[in-house]
Amino acid sequence: MDQTVKRKMHRTIIGFVPGESIMYKLHPVVRLSLYIATGILPLFIETPEISMLFIAIILILFVVANVNLNRLKIFTPMLITVGIIINLTYIFFPIRKEEGLVMFSLLGLDVNFYSTMWAFAIYLRIITLVLSSVFYFSTNRERDILVAMRTIGTPFVVSYFIGLALRSAGIFLEDYSIIREAEQARGLDVRNLSFLGKVKHFSMYLVPLFTLSIRKSDDISTGLFAKGTELTGKIDGVKRADYLRSKLRITNIDKAWLIAIILFTVTVMVVSITTGLLTIEGSWIFQSIEKYFFG
C-alpha cells in the first residue's frame, strides 16, 4: 500500500509545497499575477476592516490551496516585532499631533489617536503583504516561477540567471548542512565560544562554502559549455524554443482569471485614488474609536 500513496508534499529550496493543490490548475502566470496583485493592492487600502477582510481571504486561500499552515509559524516572531516597531515609531514620532487628539497617556507619553490608528492600518497592510508573499512561495515551485517569468516576456538570459541562482542557493544549503556536521565531528561546540570565537567560527563555515562554490563554478561553466550553452533568446536567428513553457499552456479559464485579477486590481486602485472609500477616515473602526474617546 505504501508505494501507491502519493507524496503529500514537493520539496522546494526553502521548504515544501503541497503535493496536490487547486492552485496547480492555474497557469503559473496567473499565480504570479495573483502574487503581484496581492503585493500591490494593500498599498491602496488604508481602511483596517478591508485589510482584515483581505487577510481573511488570503488565509482562506491557504486552506483552499492545501498549504500546511504550520509554515506560517516561522513568520510569527517577525510579525510581532514588526507590529511593535511600527507602533513604537508612531508613538514616539506621532503624525498629526497638532490635532491634539490624545487617547491616553502611557508612562508620561501621549498616545496620539490618529497616529495610533495609522500605525494599526499600516501594520495590517504589512501583514497582508507578508502573507501574500508566503502564500506565493508556498504554492509555487521554482520551475513555476521561471515559467511565469518567461511567459510575461522576461529575456531568456534573465530567467536562466534566476534559475541558476536558485539552483546554487540549493547547492549552497546542502553544502552548509554537511559542513556543519563536519565541524561537529571535529569537536566544535558553539556554546562554549567567546564572541571572538564565534566570529572566527563563522569563517569556518564560510571558507569551505566558498571554496566549494569556486570549484563548482568552474565545473558548472565547463558543463554549460559542453551543452553548447547560448544565453540568448535566439538560436541561428530563430526564436529559442521554450520547452517548459510549451508544456504548460494558458487555457481560457486562465485567461478569464487573468482578466478578472487585472480588472479587480485596477478597479480597487481607481476607487482608492478617486474616492475616499478606502481611506482610513472612512473606516468604521476608526470612527467608532474616535467617537469613544472624543465623542
Binding site: 553544502d175 554537511i178 559542513i179 556536521e181 563536519a182 565541524e183 561537529q184 565531528a185 571535529r186 569537536g187 566544535l188 561546540d189 569563517s203 569556518m204 563555515y205 571558507v207 569551505p208 571554496t211 566549494l212 570549484r215
Partner: protein
C-alpha cells in the same frame, strides 16, 4: 581471546524530520580493533547509521554506547569526538583553515590541549597520513584532491580517536591512491590498534581489507559476518542489490566444477584450480 566491546547499538531507530524512517531497529556490537566495512546500495542507510554512531545525527530511539559513553544522551560532544572520528567523503567540506598546520591542529586545540602537545600531535598525524611538513604553511585549497583527503584524515587523526569512520575512502582515487589510503587504514588498524569502519561501494576493497562486513538494505542490517561468509551468501546479497567481487562471482559461476563460493583472492582460486585440475586428471587416468 576476549576482546572488548567498543560500540554497542541496541534497537536503534532513526527517523528524518519529514517522517521517513532511515534506520529500523538496529542491534549490533562492534569490538575493539575490528576492521569493518558497511556496504549496501545508495540510500540504504549506511551513512546515516555511521553518523548516528558519532552523534552527528541524534538517534530517534534506542541506545548507542561508545566506549562507555551514551551517544544518544551525552551533552559532552568533546568526549565523544575523542573516541570516534569521522572523515567525510568530500575533503572540501571539512577543510576550513588558512593553512595545513592549523587544519590538523584545529581539533586538538578544540580539546584545549597545550600548544606544545598540539604540535607533537600535528607532526605525528601528518607523518602517519603522509602529509609532508614542508607544505604546513600552504593553503589546503591549492593541493590536489589526494593530498586534501590526507589532510582531512590527518585532521581527524590528531584527535587520536579509538574509532575512525571513513566515508568512501577510495571514491575518485586511482588504483595506486586507493591502495595507499587502504594500506594506511590497515596500518592504523593493525599497528596502532584503531578500530576502523569504512563505508564503501568497492567490493574489491572490502574483500581485501575488511575483517567484518555489515550489509544494509532499507535501513536494516540484513547480513553480517566475515568477508568470506558474507560474500558466499549470493542470494542474500542479490536481495541487497550487491554483487560480490569479480573473482567471487567467477568462483560462484564455476560452483559445479567444484570451486568454493567464498573465494576472494587470486591465490585462493588458483590453488583450487590446481587441485581440481589435478583431481580431474587422476579421475581421467583411472
Amino acid at each position: 581471546m576476549e576482546t572488548k566491546k567498543i560500540i554497542e547499538v541496541k534497537d536503534l531507530v532513526f527517523t528524518y524530520p519529514d517522517g521517513t524512517t532511515a534506520l529500523e531497529n538496529i542491534t549490533i556490537d562492534f569490538y575493539d580493533g575490528e576492521f569493518i566495512a558497511f556496504i549496501g546500495t545508495n540510500g540504504c542507510g549506511k551513512t546515516t547509521f555511521s553518523k548516528c554512531l558519532n552523534g552527528i545525527l541524534k538517534a530517534s530511539q534506542g541506545s548507542i554506547v561508545v566506549n562507555g559513553i551514551d551517544v544518544v544522551h551525552t551533552k559532552d560532544c568533546m568526549e565523544l569526538v575523542k573516541n570516534i572520528g569521522y572523515v567525510f567523503q568530500n575533503p572540501d567540506h571539512q577543510l576550513f583553515n588558512n593553512n595545513i598546520y592549523s587544519e590538523i591542529a584545529y581539533a586538538p586545540r578544540n580539546l584545549g590541549i597545550p600548544e606544545n602537545e598540539v604540535r607533537e600531535r600535528v607532526i605525528e598525524a601528518a607523518k602517519i597520513a603522509g602529509v609532508s611538513e614542508s607544505i604546513f604553511e600552504e593553503h589546503p585549497f591549492f593541493e590536489v584532491k589526494g593530498i586534501r583527503q590526507r589532510i582531512a584524515i590527518a585532521s581527524i587523526l590528531s584527535l587520536k580517536p579509538a574509532i575512525i569512520i571513513v566515508d568512501e575512502p577510495t571514491t575518485g582515487q586511482d588504483y595506486k591512491q586507493s591502495i595507499e589510503v587502504m594500506e594506511f587504514l590497515k596500518m592504523l588498524n593493525e599497528k596502532l590498534g584503531h578500530t576502523v569502519i569504512i563505508i564503501t561501494h568497492e567490493m574489491d576493497i572490502v574483500a581485501e581489507y575488511a575483517k567484518r562486513v555489515i550489509v544494509m538494505t532499507d535501513g536494516k542490517i540484513i547480513s553480517e559476518g566475515s568477508v568470506k561468509e558474507v560474500f558466499a551468501r549470493a542470494e542474500l546479497l542479490e536481495q541487497a542489490n550487491i554483487k560480490p567481487p569479480q573473482l567471487t562471482r567467477l568462483a560462484q559461476e564455476l560452483k559445479d566444477e567444484g570451486f568454493s563460493p567464498d573465494i576472494i583472492t587470486v591465490e585462493e582460486i588458483y590453488s583450487e584450480w590446481k587441485q581440481i585440475k589435478g583431481k580431474n586428471e587422476i579421475a581421467e587416468k583411472a
